[in-house]
């Protein structure tokens, strides 16, 4: 019966691993924590459950840009009554949406919005069949994307007619999973932990002495290898420089970063999807909401700050189940930069100064954290909190560094961090004898002709049948 519904609403004949179990539990009104790797159709779990329960669904989502993308994608799939309640709406639109809440089947909301007493109360009056906490790892300060606002969810979620909750995440350590259950007060929740290993993604690592050598290597790689592929770099400026460099080879490449307008980012995604672009040079802003199945290469010009982040980024490859290569490029300097990135927890002096209302120059993320601590904890607790956080951050850094340095199997190192075991496989990683050339398709035409543009033809193609 479930499969027939899947076929009916989505046109798929079978579920991906994990989906069916999660949906069954939700239909039985159980609370669920589900760890489903990127690309395995997390959103289908609540979309289908909503349809089957014939009740509206509330989706709490921490990232504004992701929320907009989810709404777009659902509309594209044919779900019409979908809305996002967030700060993108103008005041009039907001009033309009709020007045017609009962009209919607799927309501996306940011955690901040739930703190608004009026909105929070209005939402509780709706007969939701399910509450989704998306990107649930953001709840935990041990996760890689902590949002203090998420912690306040637990007060809002305590009400009598509350429907079942499903907490969804793609990466989480056991500590994070425990936090999720704690904060959401769903101690009895069923757990679905899909194996996060993606064996079709082959892992490669390459060492260099200078940053310039990496650039040369990327040029060589991209100009001789067929995409589609993503190159992750650590800054907006680098995405632009590298793109300019690669364009010289007449490669169909574009930059993607958070500094671009939403419209431009959307266009780049669609061009990539339509194979008008072969390579994307991006910051970590690229990824969520990229629904391309045949990405063959993910190159990290700089290692992601955390293994959770790395796992999500490489997870964008090989959604079609065919082989793909994930390569990380390393230099000694990268390790120092990483260390610096992890060294950002407020020090004891900063905490004391903040509590004593002494003004001090701190980063935005520290300011946010201190504000949260101040509102919820005594000074001594806050100090301990920051010390623990520092220890955890250091562990995360050590794990990332270890991935860059280890002489052991890369896959085993990666999975160990998530406390999962590896299944031995052929051509697993460069430490286990992977020959990357076996997984690269050679580009036949290295010197592609310059794209010719014809305005009249383009108009014809767009508007005439």
């Amino acid at each position: 019966m479930l499969e027939r519904a899947l076929q009916h609403y989505f046109g798929f004949s079978s579920f991906r691993p994990g989906q069916e179990e999660v949906i069954r539990a939700l239909l039985a009104n159980e609370d669920v924590v589900a760890l489903l790797p990127t690309g395995t159709g997390k959103s289908l779990c609540y979309q289908l459950t909503g349809r089957l329960k014939e009740a509206p669904v509330l989706i709490i989502s921490p990232l504004l840009s992701l929320m907009q993308d989810q709404v777009n994608q659902m509309k594209k799939l044919g779900f019409k009554r979908v809305v996002a309640l967030n700060s993108f709406l103008t005041r009039e639109q907001f009033t309009e949406v709020l007045a017609n809440l009962a009209h919607y089947d799927y309501i996306f909301v940011s955690p901040e919005m739930l703190q608004n007493v009026n909105i929070g109360r209005r939402l509780k009056q709706l007969p939701f069949g399910l509450i989704v906490v998306d990107e649930a790892h953001c709840i935990s300060e041990w996760g890689h994307d902590f949002r203090p606002d998420y912690l306040r969810l637990n007060t809002w979620l305590k009400y009598d007619s509350r429907p079942p909750i499903v907490a969804l995440t793609a990466t989480a350590t056991s500590k994070v999973l425990a936090d999720i259950k704690d904060v959401l007060c769903i101690k009895e929740a069923s757990m679905y932990l899909a194996p996060i290993d993606r064996k079709e993604i082959r892992l490669a690592r390459q060492w260099f002495t200078t940053a310039q050598e990496k650039v040369n290597w990327i040029e060589e790689y991209v100009s001789t290898t067929l995409g589609p592929g993503i190159i992750y770099t650590s800054s907006r400026k680098k995405t632009e420089q590298l793109t300019a460099q690669l364009r010289k080879w007449r490669i169909k490449v574009a930059a993607y970063h958070g500094g671009m307008t939403n419209e431009d980012r959307q266009l780049i995604q669609e061009q990539f999807l339509a194979a008008e672009l072969e390579w994307i040079v991006a910051t970590s802003a690229f990824g969520m909401g990229v629904h391309k199945n045949n990405i063959r290469h993910v190159i990290h010009e700089t290692m992601s700050p955390t293994l959770s982040g790395y796992m999500q980024e490489i997870g964008r490859a090989a959604r079609d189940g065919q082989d793909a290569l994930a390569t990380v490029l390393c230099t000694e300097q990268d390790k120092e930069v990483l260390q610096f990135l992890h060294d950002t927890v407020p020090t004891e002096e900063m905490v004391r100064a903040y509590y004593a209302h002494v003004s001090l120059a701190i980063s935005d993320s520290n300011a946010e954290l201190l504000k949260y601590l101040y509102a919820n904890y005594e000074l001594s607790q806050a100090i301990v909190y920051c010390q623990t956080l520092k220890v955890e951050k250091n562990k995360a850094f050590q794990a990332t560094k270890n991935y860059m340095e280890t002489s052991k199997c890369l896959r085993a190192t990666l999975l160990q961090y998530f406390e999962q075991a590896t299944v031995p496989q052929q051509a697993c990683c460069t430490q286990c004898g992977l020959n990357v050339e076996d997984y690269k398709e050679v580009r036949k035409f290295t010197n592609l002709s310059k794209q010719s543009l014809d305005w009249a033809l383009r108009l014809q193609q767009m508007l005439l049948k």
Binding site: Q68, N72, Q73, K75, K76, L77, G78, T90, Q93, A244, R247, A254, A255, M260, N262, E263, D264, Q266, L267, I268, E270, Q271, A274, E276, K450, Q451, L453, W455, A456, R458, L459, Q460, Q461, M462, L463, L464, K465
Partner: protein, 328 residues
Amino acid sequence: MNFQLLVRQILLIFNSERTISAPYHLLKGKKSSQTLEDAVLFHLQPYYHLLPFLTRESYDAVIAKLCQQGDLQLTNERYTVKPPPQQSSHFDGFSYRGGERVFFARLQLLVQTLSQRNAQNMKFVPVVTDLRIQRFVKQFLRRYTTASLAEDLYKEIVSLLADEAISDWQRLLFTYRLSGYEQPAQTLEQLASTKDVATIDAELAWLEALHYLLKRVESPLLLALLEGCIVSEPLTVSAAKTLQFLAQGYTLEQVANERKLKLATIHDHVIEIARNRPTFDITPYVEDKIVRRVHQAVATLKTRRLKVLQQTLNIDYFTIRLALTREV
């Protein structure tokens, strides 16, 4: 006209009578009375509100570049700029004030929708996220229901773009920024890179074409898309209200009291009205002979700097500004 030349042109016209930042505010379309007044006073209306998304960073970068090239010299509070080569442009920022971008966004969404409809695939992510634009296009499609809509629109665009005053480059910028079924638009940055020009220069070329073409639209569909995009009432809502009170015989102080606004704000309104309505009688607020004195001072001192005029004439700023609106 590229960005560097544009900034040089504006700096030249300001003739060091305004700060180095004045062109920035003008291009951004700052709504302060100083910027609006300057636009009229210096006949810089064409460039007003051309680049509402210009960042201070990129403006400062071009100023630095001009200095480095020796086209511009900064000396405390003043500057000297090398006159750019003479060239005409079709810009008319004052008449659009962002309306040209609204028009184009409507067109983008309409073309995308029609293209998807032709392909019989209505599942798509709209290229324009602005809900007002989405609502407009929805209403448009309810009004125009002929089967040949896409073809009619095609013909209208082709005949508009046939105008010889615009270049093939501008035609590319116009058409490749439209999205169709399985044909996502190119970003300005991408189009600029095909010609090795800066993104902002591509944007200016696109804007110039729009400013020129939109005034020549005579076909029904494009005219309907243009609805409300060209400013016909140049007064701000607030200034228009002040004008109503003045017409009923209120004094400036009375208007300020009645509207619970500062007198200075009402003064700004009067200037705005005088500037935009050549027939507006300013004599109740400034005597004719004072107006003439101000005009004489401008001629002898060869400057429109308010500070200089104020110090020489010892008349208040409001009176001077008002007199300047009637300068021949």
